[in-house]
Amino acid sequence: MATSESSETSSDQDSRRRFLKYAASGAATILMVYIPGATAGHRYSRIWKQRSKEHQWAYIIDADKCIGWGGCVRACKRENNVPDGVFRTWIERYIVTEDGVYVDSPNGGLGGFHQADPEIQKKTLYARFIPKMCNHCANPPCVQVCPVGATYKTPEGFVLIDHDHCLGCAYCVQACPYSARFINPVLKKSDKCSWCYHRIKKGKLPACVEACPTGARKFGDLNDPESEVSEILREGKWSVLKPHMHTGPTCFYVELPKEVV
């Protein structure tokens, strides 16, 4: 009796051991197949395989030249029918004082700015207007999180949204470290700056660049070594927003104060 019981237990243990062995090897096989793909960031490399040799567009913002008049914001609104309260591009004013940094952006800078509070003005060290928009990252977090492939990086460097395909789940809105995305209250879809793709394709500049009276906003082709943006980047005085995020923005800032985030 005792023998038969012990033999039953041992065969039970055997089958359990066999099951665990198969389960472990199965899991290991799955991991071996999938992990290299995941760690190589396959979607990122897939994007760069399709990099255009013709054009690589880039955007440059010169923080020293912006006067905060808001014409770019108005032009963008009109060009792209952006609803009230949301912005594809907006202007922030950074006022650096002895006891902290004041940032304001009244209605995205749509109607320009008003003079700062006299108390703040007294202790101001310096102030700058900083236009902001989608950075059209080389490694865009918004594209990586989109569950349906409705946002994508084109070979020429645009990060665009396919409004026919977008579900409006807003994962990308959360993923963007620059807060450049929003849910369009009219379309109920994700929306953001497109670098005026339709204008570029017709040989024109983005609406905000056309509207800028001081040349604070520039747009051009990095593949053309003679272009203004190539020349500015060659000077090497540029920086990008949140470089520690490793998003690789192709929207470069010149004379960017270190307080700007």
């Binding site: 020293d64 905060g68 006022i95 409705a150 994508y152 665009l160 509207a211 009276p213």
Partner: protein, 158 residues
């Protein structure tokens, strides 16, 4: 009487799973847009849709078609670098399909148009001309006077 196979319930399950897999493949093929870019993972036709968005702003060269003299004149003046549409409104609000639909906006009764750029604000470049009461003539102007009474909008020499 033939005994039914002891595995028959598994065969049925297998057939069901197979059918579900085929259905999945069919639905996937139907739901994937024909222009789908499998490499970069997006609908290829979306680029055509994006490019078909109508232009609202035509840029300064589009003004030249009708206002050649005015564009030529402004080219020599102080505000030559400015976008016409910045003050006069978008082209699409003025012309559509080659026909004039409304007058272009010209604001002459408000200071806002000028002060949008030239209001005195901290943060502006030092050499940028900003409205200031320190100018002698500004000291004598009446309350709410319009800038364009004395200045030319296209050539605003101080």
């Amino acid at each position: 009487m033939i005994n039914p196979s002891p595995w028959s319930h598994l065969y049925r399950l297998g057939i069901l799973l197979g059918a579900a897999f085929v259905a999945f493949l069919v639905i996937k093929a139907l739901a994937t847009p024909p222009s789908w870019n499998h490499e970069a993972w997006y609908r290829g036709d979306a680029l055509i849709d994006m490019a078909s968005q109508p232009l609202a702003h035509g840029a300064n060269e589009s003004c030249r078609d009708c206002h050649e003299d005015a564009v030529k004149k402004v080219k020599k003046l102080k505000h030559k670098k400015l976008s016409c549409e910045g003050c006069h409104g978008a082209l699409a609000d003025h012309v559509q399909d080659g026909d004039k639909i409304a007058d272009a906006k010209v604001i002459t009764e408000s200071r806002r148009q000028c002060l949008n750029c030239h209001a005195e604000l901290i943060g502006k470049p030092k050499d940028f001309p900003q409205f200031t009461m320190a100018v002698n003539k500004h000291k004598t102007i009446e309350e709410g006077a319009v800038c364009l009474k004395c200045h030319d909008a296209h050539d605003p020499t101080p």
